[in-house]
């Protein structure tokens, strides 16, 4: 089948052979066990270990019913344009691809696999035994650790040598380090109490504790099979991680990554049905020693107190199919997006009660959210997938908890970025055509779109540098670069190459909590 083989450069050929031979050997006995392993090794990090879907659609007998095996085979071979689905041509043999299609079309969605506190504990890997041997300050030139920007590079195949967390100095726009993560990095969070520690979570629910001073991973732990949820407590002592597969969350010691307590995620959903639930966002807040976690399917937000026994307060009926959220007002107000109700629900973390449900366009995905003070008002900006005829970005007054405006934009959006010192709020257009190459800039005073930038690739996850002078955007999918703009002139000033960049996370966020807030807001939290 590999007719082009003799025309490929030798080095690639050797790589190809080493790639294909062991897999080919595996697949000769075409058992479903082998096919399952092939699925786990190539597909599961995006499509879900349980075949139920994660960042990509579920692949099971039910979801693929009636689909042509030939069409599926060619889709696997060529990949799917305008998505993250890569071409597996040359990575999997034709027999393997045919076998996989058959396997997927006959395998039901799997039951939740177990991943217990003991599994988590025994998954800990230690790369640096004695942390006292680590350097006392950064081994590279940087004025402030706030200037560090981390990018989750997925790697073309969602795994492999391109999958890493890349760290950049946002003053010079030069890469200062990279941490290989094996599978696609998804979330990067920073320790608010000690600027040297970062935590990188992958699509396969592994968390790497990273020493930013020496730019290396010191430990890792596997908290589940899939799931992006990750938060760090304000005192820097705890991290909490949540999974789609299995349906649980865990609090870890932020220092050792030892699991301290797991939580089974289940509850009564807004329609009165008892359900087991994926973990949505998890957030630590400067407001209190707590974590908040969204139970996606149960429509509940749980507040976990970081004290003996980690007791839970459950807030019910927040909305149908919750996903992500952001903080405001010193971290005392939590804005949670509900996909299915197309609302953002404001929660008071002090009283642990719902304040109000606000309109949020169609299928709100707020990313990290954005909050910025404009003429004395605290304005929140909310993006949404926009799967309806109304394509808008919602602007809310978070003091009064009311909708100020729904700003028309050119398509669906996934993540906003604002900064106290930057004139524009950036939103990424994700509609699946040429628009996906662009971001739009909303003037934060007039609340109108004033500019569209063609970033390239699939442009998403804008983020400002800590000083607000530069806007970073991922030219994702096959764009393979992070593009940097001057945040006032909107001129392109730099590009940093990497494979399939996605989320961008400024270290400055531990000081301003949510993109757009000034560090003054944080003083109010104390």
């Amino acid at each position: 089948m590999l007719i082009t083989k003799n025309r490929l450069p030798k080095s690639i050929l050797i790589g190809l052979a080493s790639l294909i031979l062991p897999l080919g050997a595996q697949a000769t006995s075409d058992t479903s066990k082998n096919m399952h392993q092939l699925y786990e090794d190539n597909c599961a990090s995006c499509h879900g270990s349980d075949h139920g879907g994660f960042i990509a659609p579920g692949l099971n007998a039910d979801s693929l019913k009636g689909r042509s095996p030939t069409a599926l085979r060619s889709l696997i071979m060529t990949g799917s344009f305008d998505t993250l689905m890569p071409p597996f041509y040359g990575r999997l043999s034709d027999d393997e691809i045919r076998g996989l299609v058959k396997h997927l079309q006959t395998t039901p969605k799997q039951a939740n696999p177990a991943w217990t506190i003991d599994d988590i504990k025994s998954s800990i890997k230690v790369y640096v035994k004695d942390e006292s041997t680590l350097p006392a300050k950064p081994t590279y030139q940087i004025n402030s650790m706030d200037d560090v920007i981390g990018v989750a590079a997925r790697g073309k195949y969602g795994r492999g040598s391109g999958s890493k967390a890349v760290f950049i100095n946002s003053v010079t726009h030069k890469q200062i380090g990279e941490i290989p993560t094996g599978t696609a990095a998804h979330i990067i969070d920073y320790n608010p109490a000690n600027p040297r520690w970062a935590y990188v979570k992958t699509d396969t629910a592994e968390i790497f504790k990273v020493d930013l001073y020496s730019m290396q991973a010191v430990r890792s732990v596997k908290t589940g099979f899939n799931g992006p949820g990750l938060g760090v407590s304000r005192d820097g002592k705890y991290i909490m991680a949540g999974s789609y597969v299995p349906h649980n969350a865990v609090i870890l010691d932020a220092d050792t990554l030892e699991p301290l307590k797991t939580f089974e995620l289940e509850g009564v959903d807004p329609d009165g049905k008892m359900v087991s639930s994926d973990s949505g966002m998890i957030i630590g807040t400067p407001f209190a020693d707590i974590f908040a976690i969204a139970l996606e399917n149960a429509g509940q937000v749980w507040v976990v107190d970081l004290k003996e026994g980690f007791p839970v307060t459950k807030i019910e009926k927040v909305g149908r199919h919750l996903h992500d959220a952001f903080l405001s007002h010193g971290g005392s107000k939590l804005m949670v997006a509900s996909y299915d109700d197309s609302i953002v629900t404001a929660i008071d973390l002090k009283d642990r009660k719902i304040i109000k449900k606000l309109e949020a366009g169609c299928v709100p995905h707020v990313g990290g959210g954005s909050v910025v003070e404009v003429d004395g008002r605290t304005l929140g900006f909310g993006t949404n997938f926009g799967d309806c005829d109304k394509m808008v970005v919602s602007v809310w007054d978070l003091d009064k908890m009311e909708v100020v405006k729904q700003v028309p934009v050119s398509g669906g959006t996934e993540s906003p970025a604002a900064h106290a010192n930057a004139p524009y709020v950036a939103v990424d257009i994700i509609s699946k055509d040429r628009r996906a190459r662009t971001i739009q800039l909303i003037d934060k005073k007039t609340l109108e779109v004033v500019k569209t930038l063609d970033v390239g690739g699939h442009a998403y996850f804008p983020e400002y540098s800590a000083d607000g002078k530069f806007l970073y955007v991922s030219a994702g999918y096959s764009g393979d670069e992070v593009v940097v703009y001057d945040s006032s002139s909107l001129q392109k000033v730099a590009s940093v190459q990497m494979e399939s960049p996605a989320g961008i996370f400024s270290h400055g966020r531990v000081r301003y909590m949510t993109r757009g807030l000034s560090s003054d807001e944080m003083k109010g939290a104390k």
């Binding site: 089948m1 007719i3 082009t4 490929l8 450069p9 690639i12 790589g15 190809l16 790639l19 071979m77 060529t78 990949g79 344009f81 890569p86 071409p87 041509y89 040359g90 990575r91 790697g155 073309k156 195949y157 492999g160 040598s161 391109g162 040429r434 190459r437 390239g456 690739g457 096959s478 764009g479 393979d480 190459q497 494979e499």
Partner: protein
């Protein structure tokens, strides 16, 4: 003097019409059709696809035309090149040839 300017212009004009290639159109086509496998500047380190950036323009054009008329065989490239017009091929080749790895 005037003559040399004129002939310069003629050559320029001729060169343009020969190439008639738009690297902008090439960029769009490459992003939509080629980059999925070959990347823009580099394919993935894990991918078995050759890089195209900086390759000779005529080589790229010839290769794409051979794939299109199936004198050069590849399941996948025969299908993909089959969707490209002469202009597309010229544009894509001009774009990739201009790029640095």
């Amino acid at each position: 003097m005037r003559l040399s300017v004129l002939s310069g212009l003629l050559i320029l004009g001729a060169a343009q019409s020969v190439n008639a290639a738009s690297i902008y159109a090439g960029e769009a086509k490459a992003a939509a059709v080629c980059s999925q496998c070959h990347g823009i500047r580099m394919p993935s380190a894990d991918a078995p696809f050759p890089p195209l950036a900086g390759r000779d323009m005529d080589y790229l054009k010839t290769a794409l035309k051979q794939y299109r008329d199936k004198t050069r065989k590849s399941d996948i490239m025969n299908a993909i090149a089959g969707s490209l017009s002469d202009d597309d091929i010229g544009n894509v080749a001009a774009y990739y040839a201009k790029l640095k790895q």
